[in-house]
Symmetry: C2
Amino acid sequence: MQFRGDVPTPALLLDLDAFEDNVQKMAAHLATRGKAFRPHGKTHKCPEVARALIRAGAVGCCAARLSEAEVFAQSGIPGLLITTAVIGRDKIARALALASSAPDTMFVVDDRQNVRDINEAAAARGKGEPVKVLVDLFFGRTGIAPGQPAVELAQLIESLPNITFGGLQSYDGAAAHTTPYDARSTRTKATMGKAVATKAMLERAGIACPLVTGGSTGTYRFDSENPGITELQPGSFVFMDMEYGTIGGPDGTEYRDFKNAITVVTTVVSRPPGFAIVDGGYKAFSTDRPFTPRPIGIDGVTYGWAGDEHGRLDLSNASRDVKLGDRIEFIPPHIDPTVNLYDHIYALRGDRVEAVWPIAARGKSQ
Amino acid sequence: MQFRGDVPTPALLLDLDAFEDNVQKMAAHLATRGKAFRPHGKTHKCPEVARALIRAGAVGCCAARLSEAEVFAQSGIPGLLITTAVIGRDKIARALALASSAPDTMFVVDDRQNVRDINEAAAARGKGEPVKVLVDLFFGRTGIAPGQPAVELAQLIESLPNITFGGLQSYDGAAAHTTPYDARSTRTKATMGKAVATKAMLERAGIACPLVTGGSTGTYRFDSENPGITELQPGSFVFMDMEYGTIGGPDGTEYRDFKNAITVVTTVVSRPPGFAIVDGGYKAFSTDRPFTPRPIGIDGVTYGWAGDEHGRLDLSNASRDVKLGDRIEFIPPHIDPTVNLYDHIYALRGDRVEAVWPIAARGKSQ
């Protein structure tokens, strides 16, 4: 496969120039403000992307799940942070094995019994450094309430021999897509403010809190100005998607801080009168958002879902003709669940396929 | 992994008893009516499931795409029918390679140039039987209009030396979920009637039409009574899903012809006050339908999406308490895109894991 037109469809195409610009822009923004950068691997699930981010200055890679982190660790990615609590005997055993082979790995906790379970399992293994855990703060999904409850959980951690308190995870998922820009700023300042206040409470209680991690592609501008936040964990900026385009930039219009670097390429496989049927449906695009993939290079056309394997383009007002066999690229509605459908990223320099990167952690949600 | 409770979550669990009942019921229904049975592999993408269907009397396996069929062929599954047209030089070359290694493979066409392209490529390879193609009839998605246009395409096929006309594919996707029962019956009788009329036209034109294939889990009762239809290609009946439950049975209520055989098992990974957060979100369930996964074994609870990796259960009216670490199973909204998210099916006999089946064609949409 040498060229864009050779890639079997449907497939993920990465514009390397746009991707590299996105990586450099975020890395420079955070470096200038003295923030560490641990981008979230759940977006890309791809060791090559994680490596590119580390070359740009990232201190590591977040992983949504243990199995995702295991893949990154096997690929030699350092500084892993697993952003969902590890619950249950089997998963704790796997987490400890990972902590033994990759000792800079960090975990999150939000429950006293889970903290005790990890401590006891770590004692039973009888070797190794204490396991480093962050207290996950609650902003509507997982976590423990900021303030006194979080402080008490940190105190429990510090009282146990085989586990050590590493700091706070302060991720407010809903802030990432809060619209418009000013409302997003207000929201993340309020929620991150609670994290920073919790850090101050911890320090007054004599517990060091060297790390406060959070933030997203939507909030990085605000979070990176917050002196209490030590590192950011944005994910989507590497590739972008339609949804992030809609959240609004500082001028009230489209959010243009980063470029759309990923497209899904499809082929027209049937051409009934007035319509083009492409070979991408529910198995080729995320379907969790109330909008459909945006075609590139043709105007006046809306993609309509046509089942698991197909999409339908109404050509009544199309800006150009479409023939059987034509390739049509689309910006995906939501990047993370789209990437999770594919085994490879075709990395393009212009129209040339420069590399094919395995999405090695695709489907690793366990 | 010996037992249900050992499977790392999120995961697909298959109730083998329910699955085997579903397979036997469909196989017996079609055998009694003298219809061939070529169930659609796009639902399961799993060679073990295809083998179980063949043991029950299936003549082969449909595949939505060439790469899916290649996986089934590598697993020794006979009687493949690829239900989307194979477009473009590279894919035609792969299709011919498949036809050489698995000569009973069939393809569909709906375009004169594509027919000529396949014929020419087959000539260039200089060996092998003529490639068997079915004419795909248009009922709203892919295909050529039934009647004279389809007959003319069959005549073109018959005029060419390296390609042979095998019959008609008559798949009406929208009929499968037409509600209620009587409307579904009316719709599929009308569309399948056009296929049967086309078959009669072909025969009057001196072209044998030994095969008319179509039908779905929603329409099999009606299509199997249609004397012009020779074989059925239902898919979802092996596992079922929430959506098929809603289409209505003959008594006007839930559609109960087949049992829910697949669940997605999750773990409660956070337990903020009033809520349980499970480890299954957009990457664990299909999201293309306007309803959310249905929890099993607990009443008064609705699943709410909570991002790529999480779901949220409001416990205000829950019939029982839910604790951190509890496992909760869900019936998925839509089976095909759900299965496509996973690498394995955990096949259970009661609570015992009897086998772990690779979903070998997962992601094979190319």
